[in-house]
């Protein structure tokens, strides 16, 4: 875990540095001396993250150096990242599709894609679930709760 902790700390330091750079561009109005100014709060937090990350690195440094290769905990098991990556891609593309084709078509497509991806072979499930779940959710939001869902640019 020590190596993972160090990697986590380095990522947080990078994030804090980015916040510090971005906060330099925030304007400060002259009427704010009493209230610290707009960029002060995120700047203080960034320094806090840097201090905490340094503590995390310092407390894990020795263990990371002495840790045996076989004892090292991996952040991702082989193949897991690929599985999640494909799932994420299906989700992302479905949301993009939703912009053009609307909620129902995009979500039916997403459900079908996931069922195929998860290797579901039952034909009843393959037909019923992707239609019933999005339609039920659509009906509940659109008709019962009066919350409009996207109809898509093509069907606008």
């Amino acid at each position: 875990m020590a190596r993972i902790n160090i990697i986590v700390a380095l990522f947080f330091i990078l994030f804090a540095a980015l916040v510090l750079v971005l906060s330099a561009g925030i304007p400060v109005s002259e009427s704010q001396p009493l209230t610290m100014g707009t960029p002060m709060f995120p700047r203080m937090l960034s320094y806090g993250i840097i201090v905490l990350s340094t503590i995390l690195i310092a407390t894990n440094f020795h263990e990371a150096r002495t840790e045996k290769k076989e004892d090292r905990k991996k952040m991702f098991e082989p193949g897991n990242l690929k599985m999640v990556g494909i799932g994420l891609l299906i989700l992302f593309l479905s949301v993009v599709l939703m912009v053009f084709l609307g909620f129902i078509i995009a979500m039916v497509a997403m459900n079908v894609a996931f069922l195929f991806y998860f290797k579901v072979k039952n034909k009843v499930v393959l037909i019923v679930e992707p239609i019933v779940a999005p339609l039920l959710i659509y009906f509940m939001f659109q008709n019962v709760l009066n919350i409009p869902l996207p109809s898509g640019l093509l069907f606008y």
């Binding site: 993972i4 971005l22 579901v120």
Partner: protein, 496 residues
């Protein structure tokens, strides 16, 4: 006290839709809680957008019923397959699973149902008694006190990240930076908006929460989708008899009181309450009671305590606007979205809502007992729904949930971004609850600190010359120091 409860009950009874939503909420909560990996927080986060179009009473009927139901539902898988559906049910596995293995799963489930229901009812009665008194006290608060209260709320991050406090605090600071996105609360100058109008009012709370809780869980399920298969055992035995019920009743009452008080301490949730109550019941065991081998009291104690923690956690939420755990953090978000501000003003200006909350929680716990006993066999069937079907449905709900807050596709992409962040954090063993806590309490801390500076002409003496402020800041320091101490003890125990 009871006149408030009667008013709340009258208000609930006058609307049949509230009843239907409570039944739906309890059933959904039990089902979701029973599914390992799906937590009560996730259930509430996914259902929160469903409540947008509803009036406040109906929203609470759904959310609170899901909350109570899910905490109880976790015990079903703990008893049947030795896998707690929620962390709160971990202690139930010791005796619950052992009893199920002896062919008495029905008895174990009935004990858990009755204990959960009675525990929940006792905690609601405590909530009704204590919360209004605490709320009256908070009427004396001004900006410095609210700042100190927010700091105290944020210090809970230390106690909820027991495994590694530094990483928990880092996540909290990250959340505070996320909370600073949008217009500066004092001068209205935009911060980190990158010219996007969608970010002027900050990162929307629901997409963030759905992203942090629901998506990572789905991704983790995807990882295991092609590997594991859970074997389900049937329920083939009698329920608990009256004599057995009477023998566990004192344990239920004692554990419920303990659970309610532990639940009221911010940061100490249902899991701590359950383990403490189990430990206490075991400590007071008679010679013939063998804990760990299927002892009924070993199921009653953790279950009464974890459900009692729900009412306990509502005490600081309603009276101080400090969420006790991630579940109540979601509820706090729900209250704010509905335009309600928890704290003393909620008790004085919207007492009907408070009374309805009391009545809904009381009835939800009673319904939970009735539905739980009647549907033990039916709920078990939910366990056999394959994750291959559940994951796409949860993802569809997540998309629609994050979209419906502002009717914005941008929010759906925010959900995906926070889903990735949440997944990476999960893999790196960084808990995400501090982010939610920080996003809720961050603006309160910053706004009130800066207001206090204006009130006192830039003089920071308000930090040490106002008694309530000092007490809250001291409590915050105590919470962090005691958590560090606990972490040290825990590490020493692990190394031994």
């Amino acid at each position: 006290m009871f006149s408030n409860l009667m008013q709340g009950l009258m208000s609930v009874f006058s609307n049949p839709m509230v009843f239907l939503l409570m039944i739906f909420g309890v059933v959904s909560g039990i089902t979701i809680g029973a599914l390992p990996g799906l937590t009560s927080t996730m259930a509430m986060a996914v259902l929160l957008p469903v409540t947008f179009g509803m009036e406040a009473k109906m929203s609470f009927a759904l959310l609170l019923s899901v909350y109570c139901g899910a905490i109880y539902g976790g015990s079903i898988t703990a008893i049947l397959i030795n896998t707690p559906g929620t962390p709160s049910a971990a202690a139930t596995t010791f005796d619950g699973y052992a009893l199920a293995q002896r062919g008495q799963a029905g008895k174990a489930l009935a004990t858990s149902t009755l204990s959960s229901s009675i525990g929940g009812v006792i905690s609601v009665l405590l909530l009704i008694t204590i919360a209004p008194i605490l709320a009256k006290f908070t009427l004396r608060f001004a900006a410095p006190e609210f700042f100190a209260l927010a700091v105290f709320g944020l210090s809970i991050i230390a106690s909820i990240s027991n495994k590694n406090i530094v990483k928990g605090l880092m996540a909290g600071f990250f959340g505070l930076i996320i909370a600073s996105i949008g217009l500066d609360p004092i001068s209205a100058i935009p911060r980190f908006t990158f010219g996007r109008t969608e970010l002027l009012s900050g990162v929307a709370f629901i997409p963030l929460m759905v992203g942090l809780f629901a998506l990572p869980q789905c991704f983790v399920e995807m990882e295991s989708m092609f590997k594991e298969k859970t074997i389900l055992k049937g329920v083939h035995s009698k329920l608990i008899n009256f004599k057995e019920f009477l023998s566990i009743l004192p344990t239920i009452i004692k554990s419920a009181l303990m659970g309610a008080f532990i639940g009221a301490v911010p940061g100490a949730g249902g899991d701590i309450a359950a383990f403490t109550a189990y430990n206490e019941a075991k400590r007071n065991a008679k010679k013939d009671e063998r804990f760990g081998t299927g002892e009924l009291k070993g199921i009653a104690a953790p279950e009464a305590a974890n459900n009692a923690s729900t009412g306990g956690a509502m005490i600081p939420l309603l009276s101080l606007a400090v969420p006790g755990d991630s579940n109540t953090a979601v509820l706090l978000g729900g209250l704010i979205i509905m335009g309600l501000q928890p704290g003393p003003l909620l008790f004085t200006q919207q007492s009907d809502i408070v009374n309805s909350i009391f009545a809904i929680m009381l009835l939800a716990n009673i319904f939970m007992g009735i539905i739980g006993l009647a549907g033990i066999r039916f709920f078990v069937k939910a366990l056999s729904v394959p994750k291959q079907i559940i994951v796409p449905v949860v993802l569809t709900l997540s998309v629609v949930g994050s979209y419906s807050m502002n009717n914005s596709i941008f929010d759906v992409f925010v959900t995906i971004v926070f889903g990735i962040i949440g997944y990476l954090m999960l893999k790196a063993d960084v808990i995400v609850s501090p982010i939610v806590l920080a996003v809720i309490l961050g603006p309160m801390a910053e706004t009130n600190y800066r207001r206090a500076l204006i009130m006192f002409d830039g003089d920071m003496s308000f930090l040490y010359n106002r008694p309530i402020t000092v007490v809250f800041l001291a409590l915050a320091i105590f919470t962090i120091v005691s958590s560090l101490f606990k972490q040290k003890l825990f590490k020493r125990g692990v190394s031994r």
